[in-house]
């Protein structure tokens, strides 16, 4: 199995890329709001869920791990 250092190095660029994709997704929503002039009644449920997921990723991991916790979150 890989060392902690190897784990970080092996797939770093792909996860960096995924964060950029998520950033572009959120920007795209903002751009659509601006374009249409629409005033949303609060944040859409799905975007709220993604934001909660981001919070889980920033917090210290629970015993069951972040992936488990995200799946639980998404199953609500």
């Amino acid at each position: 199995m890989l060392s902690p250092h190897q784990v970080v190095e092996k797939d770093y660029l792909e996860h960096r890329y995924m964060l950029l994709e998520i950033a572009a997704y959120l920007d795209r929503y903002d751009a659509a709001l601006q374009r249409t002039g629409e005033v949303p009644v609060g944040t859409p449920a799905k975007l709220k869920l993604l934001d909660q997921a981001l919070a889980v990723l920033r917090a210290p991991a629970s015993e069951k791990g972040r992936t488990y916790d995200l799946l639980e979150l998404f199953a609500k």
Binding site: M1, L71, E72, A75, K76
Partner: protein, 278 residues
């Protein structure tokens, strides 16, 4: 490397897929009965479908040197049609008698309704009565946790041999309870949106490789048979040996499916022959 693809919807895939699988080392596939994208209305359609996967599809696979096995079931999505389900179930024993039919699958749950649970129970009971293996589908995405819990509850109420039951599509959230209850578990790998090759290897590293199967997604939707080979590459790239890979991707399917004597492919071991003298 020698690979067995234990969950593969061949009728929805191309000849090129067979060819590329053969070239990458796939020696056998097993095809569970699946949903067709719409709810079928007639029992007759199911009978012809089971004929297709038990009679015709093995001839297609054979052209690429691949063994083809199958499973029969009414899909959970169609279990709301109780009359249809009961009618189709009557025909299962004919197919259990086919030389390549391994059992009942994929039964399971979709939205975990009363009718679905009744159908799951009827499927499992019929399989156990006829000494067949069982492959159980668990719901995807937000429905997975609840649906898997419900599957385990239904099974707990029946007289089953857990070692002959494979609960498929497990993820981080559901693998623990399924293994704890003594069942086999399966990962289904998707190119996107569901379980990835990397996460499957994480779970193998965490839970060990006992009672564990890996299959790619391979149906008429967004899916890719080669996610299985990607998973093997990922597994090997983390320093696991070829033999360890063979245990997971070839020998484990032999161990589970081989409980039905029709599946006669044996676990293998790579041995170094007499060393070449220099």
């Amino acid at each position: 490397m020698q690979i067995i693809q234990p969950h593969y919807h061949a009728i929805a895939r191309t000849a090129q897929d067979y060819e590329r699988m053969a070239m990458s080392g796939v020696v056998a596939v097993a095809e569970p009965a699946f949903w067709a994208g719409f709810d079928r209305r007639y029992p007759e359609t199911f009978i012809d479908y089971f004929r297709q996967i038990s009679e015709f599809e093995p001839t297609r696979a054979a052209q690429y040197g691949i063994r083809h096995f199958c499973w029969v079931a009414v899909n959970p999505k169609e279990a709301e049609n109780v009359e249809l389900t009961n009618e189709v179930l009557k025909h299962f024993p004919e197919f259990f008698a086919k030389p390549t039919c391994l059992g009942v699958g994929e039964t399971g749950l979709h939205k975990a309704t009363k009718n679905e649970c009744d159908s799951l129970q009827a499927h499992v009971e019929l399989a156990m009565k006829h000494n067949q293996l069982v492959l159980i589908h668990t719901p995807h995405l937000a429905d997975k946790a609840h649906g898997t819990k419900k599957v385990l509850e239904v099974l707990a109420g029946l007289n089953v041999d857990p070692q002959r039951i494979w609960i498929d599509h497990v993820e981080e959230q559901t693998i623990g309870p399924c293994l704890d209850a003594g069942y086999w578990v399966g990962f289904t790998l998707y190119p996107i949106t569901k379980c990835s090759p990397r996460r499957a290897v994480d779970m193998i590293e965490k839970y060990g490789s006992e009672r564990l199967l890996v299959n790619s997604s391979a149906d008429w939707g967004p899916s890719d048979p080669f996610t299985l080979q990607q998973c093997i590459m990922e597994f090997r790239s983390r320093g696991h040996t070829v033999q360890e890979a063979i245990e997971v991707f070839h020998n484990n399917p032999c161990r589970f499916l081989g409980q039905n004597p029709k599946f006669d492919i044996q676990p293998i071991r790579i041995e170094v022959d007499a060393p070449v003298s220099v």
